[in-house]
């Protein structure tokens, strides 16, 4: 084993995480290698000063109100989902009714009606195309679960 590997084992040694065999091997190496022994002592000091730091306990009030805040957020989240879904449905319905009214209105020129229909058709093609591309990438992207 190299010194570098023993140095990593030192962490387990300081944190009492080594098994008997690993501990004995490291202790033997420390007898033979003053450099590693010196580094172990430095890490021991560092561990002591780091162990000395602890995080401040917040007031009890924070724990008492914790679940209430989480619950309110969950509830609001559900509220937003319902609100958004209803909003989208109403917009689609309203849009559909509006277009239907224009198409049926005899005072509106044919060119405007045709333009509107082509616009809707174009938007639909774009939507389907983007959606299909997204689904295709999602299905085949081997790195989709990799956090960027």
């Amino acid at each position: 084993m190299s010194c570098q590997e023993y140095k990593e084992l030192m962490m387990g040694y300081l944190d009492s995480e080594l098994d008997e065999g690993q501990r004995e091997r490291l202790e033997q190496h420390l007898v033979d290698c003053p450099e590693c022994y010196r580094e172990l002592e430095e890490f021991r000091k560092l561990k002591d000063i780091t162990d000395d730091v602890s995080l401040a306990e917040p007031e009890d009030r924070l724990w008492e109100q914790y679940w209430g805040s989480v619950y309110n957020r969950v509830e609001r989240g559900i509220g937003w989902v319902l609100f958004s879904a209803a909003g989208i449905l109403l917009l689609i319905y309203g849009g559909f009714k509006w277009i239907e009214e224009i198409i049926r209105d005899e005072t509106v020129g044919l060119l405007l009606k045709a333009g509107l229909l082509v616009l809707i058709a174009g938007a639909a093609v774009l939507f389907v195309s983007v959606l299909r591309e997204r689904l295709y990438i999602r299905k085949r992207d081997r790195y989709k679960d990799v956090r960027r």
Partner: protein
């Protein structure tokens, strides 16, 4: 028929025992499995038990990662909200906490990146590049029974990279064993040991350089 039923019952018992043993090995209690099943069916009472069980761990991990109390509270609560809305994706045999921990750490890291970008922008706009300090968001008030030494260590922890800081927090502030850290980080015990070595080496370097700077 009776023998068949007995055998079937015995087999079911064995399968059940094996499942229990497997869960025990993974550190997941039967009670937690039941709670998670209830959460999946939409029970807020069951989720309340889960939140109350893990809220302190969540808050202190977030505090260790982002360094100030308001952000830690906000991020830990947000992680629970996200966990609840994605509870269907949880494989309950792994238990709640390691899965939840992934949500929490991703939220904290993403928050830190945004804070860094905002901070860098502010520093560049006001005092210039030379004054950038990675530990700016690490409030000294987060430390209990403060003194100069503890403040120095806390500030140095704030300067560590995400993964190094994380392993220091889990080991020193959460007092987790290597096995528990490995379970939360979905890595091996060897990786934990190696990461801890590099983290402590870096931390030591930061403390030494600061000490050197003070003596100059």
């Amino acid at each position: 028929m009776y023998i068949y039923m007995c055998r079937k019952g015995l087999m079911a018992g064995l399968v059940f025992d094996e499942r229990l043993l497997e869960l025990e090995k993974l550190g997941v209690s039967e009670e937690e499995m039941t709670l998670l099943e209830r959460c999946r069916r939409g029970s807020k009472e069951a989720f309340e038990v889960i939140v109350k069980r893990y809220m302190k761990d969540a808050y202190f991990v977030a505090l260790g990662l982002v360094g100030n109390r308001d952000d830690a509270l906000e991020l830990s609560q947000e992680a629970f909200v996200r966990a609840y809305s994605n509870i269907d994706r949880l494989n309950s045999k792994w238990g709640f906490y390691p899965w939840f921990y992934q949500i929490l750490r991703n939220l904290c890291f993403s928050h830190l990146r945004k804070r860094k970008v905002r901070g860098n922008q502010y520093i560049e706009d006001t005092v210039g590049d030379d004054f950038r300090d990675e530990s700016d968001g690490f409030a000294p008030e987060a430390v209990a029974e403060r003194n100069e030494n503890k403040d120095r260590v806390w500030k140095a922890i704030g300067k560590l990279g995400e993964k190094h800081r994380e392993v220091i927090i889990l080991r020193h502030f959460q007092n987790l064993s290597y096995e528990q850290i490995a379970k939360n980080l979905f890595c091996s015990k060897g990786t934990v040991m190696s990461r801890l070595y590099h983290a402590r080496k870096k931390l030591k370097g930061l403390l030494d350089s600061e000490k050197g700077g003070q003596h100059e």
